[in-house]
Symmetry: C2
Subunit: 204 residues, 2 copies
DNA sequence: TTGAATGGTAAACATTGTTCAATTATGCTT
DNA sequence: AAGCATAATTGAACAATGTTTACCATTCAA
């Protein structure tokens, strides 16, 4: 294996992903370009394209990193001792906080779209699955008696909604801030939805 | 006013917006380019840039058109005779259906982002406001006794959530379709959230 | 009819993603 | 140690993007 600098293939890839993450964090997704990344790591575009199929794969790796950070934050919120309902609220607020604190990275995750014919890699989908699985666990603890399908339905409904609040929160500030904070909306969503959902279950 | 062809400024703008809408509908937001639009309407890019500040303004106009269509569909759903709760469910499903039926246009609306320093024009924001106002009306009918702040809070919470379900529905199909349809999620969200919210109000 | 103003064009510029032939450095073999 | 094969790296090239602008053409008013 011949190499001119003291960087292995893996090192170059790591450096490129780091540079991409920095670019996203400072200039946003639109600020990322192959040449900028290459220049940042001291190589040329050509080298970049030998380590990544295309620019989307690179962005995908950077986003996967953010997803891992997010997941870690959610796991931490999960593992604090408290009642099931409070736990879910805490996780939801962590989700919200992450979006607010890392706005550019967050936007990059859900705003980036694969071009036609590009399939989402398994290692990326796995992170998303892990996220949903965490929610399902938390919801299950709230109502251990419900069957799996119901848990799944409620989890996905709830988390799509939580996600919706996060989205409308960043960028387009749809709420005049003096009226209601996104935390208030989040609280309203989770308590109302889950209270009714739990009650429905105890009826049957 | 000198003109080479028989098109007024307004006509050219209308043609350009139409062409942009077609491009979005067929190729998606990424398929839109100034040259494609110009060629479609039989003019050059230069002419396009005399009628629009930049490509984003053009896209904004196309998206505003979609928003108007969406609003019309929601208004129609609103004006059908039924109980308040059923009305809201119907509106939410109309929202969902619109996203499914006009996937590309829908994605173009919420995926398009203004570049730095670009402020959203009033005529665009007005359409979004109209949308939220419609929901507020529908929620008010469900609980006419609640004060305005509470109505606003519930409306925004609910609609952010509805929006979240729509988003996760298109593109990234996060639900294995054999488990639950998005309509099921929508039904679950609206009924549970609003039932608990109404009950909370009658307690006070 | 002539001149001024407007409509429209085409070419140019910078920047994007992506490819690829040429070059250079490395490791292995003899 | 020399040479060779292989891999790494470059830099130029291509097409397509948004955007600007100098120039040409047409029309209306005088």
């Amino acid at each position: 294996m011949a190499r001119r600098n003291d960087h292995t293939r893996e090192e170059i890839q790591g450096m490129a992903i780091d540079a991409t993450r920095t670019l996203i964090a400072t200039e946003g997704l639109e600020g990322v370009s192959a040449r900028k990344v290459a220049q940042q790591i001291g190589y040329t575009v050509g080298t970049l394209y030998q380590n990544f199929e295309n620019i989307h794969e690179l962005i995908l790796h950077a986003n996967a990193f953010s997803l891992t950070q997010l997941l870690a934050a959610l796991e931490q919120a999960y593992h604090q001792e408290s009642k099931p309902m409070q736990r879910i609220i805490r996780i939801a607020n962590t989700y919200l906080d992450f979006g607010q604190m890392h706005e550019k990275q967050w936007a990059a995750i859900f705003r980036h779209t694969l071009p036609q014919g590009f399939v989402m890699p398994d290692w990326y989908q796995a992170r998303i699955d892990a996220l949903f699985s965490l929610i399902e666990r938390a919801v299950w603890e709230l109502a251990p008696g419900r069957d799996k399908k119901q848990i799944q339905l409620a989890s996905r409904t709830l988390w799509s909604s939580v996600h919706g609040i996060c989205i409308l929160n960043i960028g387009n500030k749809l709420y005049s801030d003096n009226i209601a904070t996104p935390q208030t909306l989040m609280q309203s969503l989770v308590t109302h939805y889950l209270n009714a959902w739990v009650r429905e279950g105890s009826k049957a």
